[in-house]
C-alpha cells in the first residue's frame, strides 16, 4: 500500500528565510505527487504537482519541489517565506494508471508552518 510521511509536524521560520518541507513516500511504481496548502477554515489548494519529466517542478506562490526517486522524496521549498505562507501543508500521492491502490489521494500527516515576523 502506498503511504506518505511528513516528518515535521510543526516548523517555524522567520519571515524572509528559506523553507524546506520534507515529504517521503512509499510506492510500488511511478508516483504522481502533489503538494496542497490549507489555510485555517479553508479547503485544500494545489501548490504544485509532479507527474513525469523534469524532476524540479514550479508551483504557485513561489514554491517549488524536487522529486528524487533514489530518496523517495518530494520536498517543498521556497527561497523567501512571507507571513501569508503560514498554513498547513500536505504532501500527497495520487492515482496513476500504474497504480493499483485505488483512485484516492493518500496524504501525509501535514506540516504546520508558522512564520515569525
Amino acid at each position: 500500500a502506498q503511504s506518505v510521511t511528513q516528518p515535521d509536524i510543526h516548523i517555524t521560520v522567520s519571515e524572509g528565510a528559506s523553507l524546506e518541507l520534507r515529504c517521503n513516500y512509499s510506492y510500488g511504481a511511478t508516483p504522481y505527487l502533489f503538494w496542497y496548502v490549507q489555510s485555517p477554515g479553508q479547503g485544500l489548494q494545489l501548490l504544485l504537482k509532479y507527474f513525469s519529466g523534469d524532476t524540479l517542478v514550479q508551483g504557485i506562490k513561489g514554491f517549488e519541489a524536487e522529486f528524487k526517486r533514489s530518496q523517495s522524496s518530494f520536498n517543498l521549498r521556497k527561497p523567501s517565506v512571507h507571513w501569508s505562507d503560514a498554513a498547513e501543508y500536505f504532501c500527497a500521492v495520487g492515482p496513476s494508471i500504474y497504480n493499483n491502490a485505488g483512485n484516492m489521494l493518500t496524504f501525509g500527516g501535514g506540516t504546520r508552518l508558522m512564520v515569525k515576523p
Partner: protein, 114 residues
C-alpha cells in the same frame, strides 16, 4: 460555479441523529471524492464516484456512512446515528477524471457531534 461548493459549512448535531452533507462539484467534472479530516487521523479517503461506474466505497469507516451522486453531479454524504468520533471536517473534491487529473477541493463541512 467557480469551484467545489459544500454545504453546510458547519453542522452541529446530537449523538444518534442522522446528518446529510452536500457537495456540488465543478461543472463538467466527472469524478467526485469525499475525504474526512480529523485530529489524530489526518486526511482519509471515504468514497469515490466516477461517471456512471459503481462507486469505490473502500474508505467508508462503517455502514452508518453512505453517499450518493445524483445525475452525475451533486453528491450527498449521509451519516446515520452519528457518534462523537464522527466529528471532523468532511471535504469534497472533484476532478475531470481519474488518473493524472488534479483534484479540486471544497472548503469542507465541519461536523460536531455533541
Amino acid at each position: 460555479g467557480a469551484g467545489v461548493s459544500q454545504s453546510p459549512s458547519n453542522k452541529v448535531t446530537e449523538k444518534g441523529k442522522d446528518v446529510e452533507l452536500r457537495c456540488d462539484p465543478i461543472s463538467g467534472h466527472t469524478a467526485l471524492y469525499w475525504y474526512r479530516q480529523s485530529l489524530g487521523q489526518g486526511l482519509e479517503f471515504l468514497i469515490y464516484f466516477q461517471g456512471n461506474s459503481a462507486p469505490d466505497k473502500s474508505g467508508l469507516p462503517s455502514d452508518r456512512f453512505s453517499a450518493e451522486r445524483t445525475g452525475g453531479s451533486v453528491s450527498t454524504l449521509t451519516i446515520q446515528r452519528t457518534q462523537q468520533e464522527d466529528s471532523a471536517v468532511y471535504l469534497c473534491a472533484s476532478s475531470l477524471g481519474q488518473n493524472q487529473n488534479i483534484q479540486y477541493f471544497g472548503a469542507g463541512t465541519r461536523l460536531s457531534v455533541l
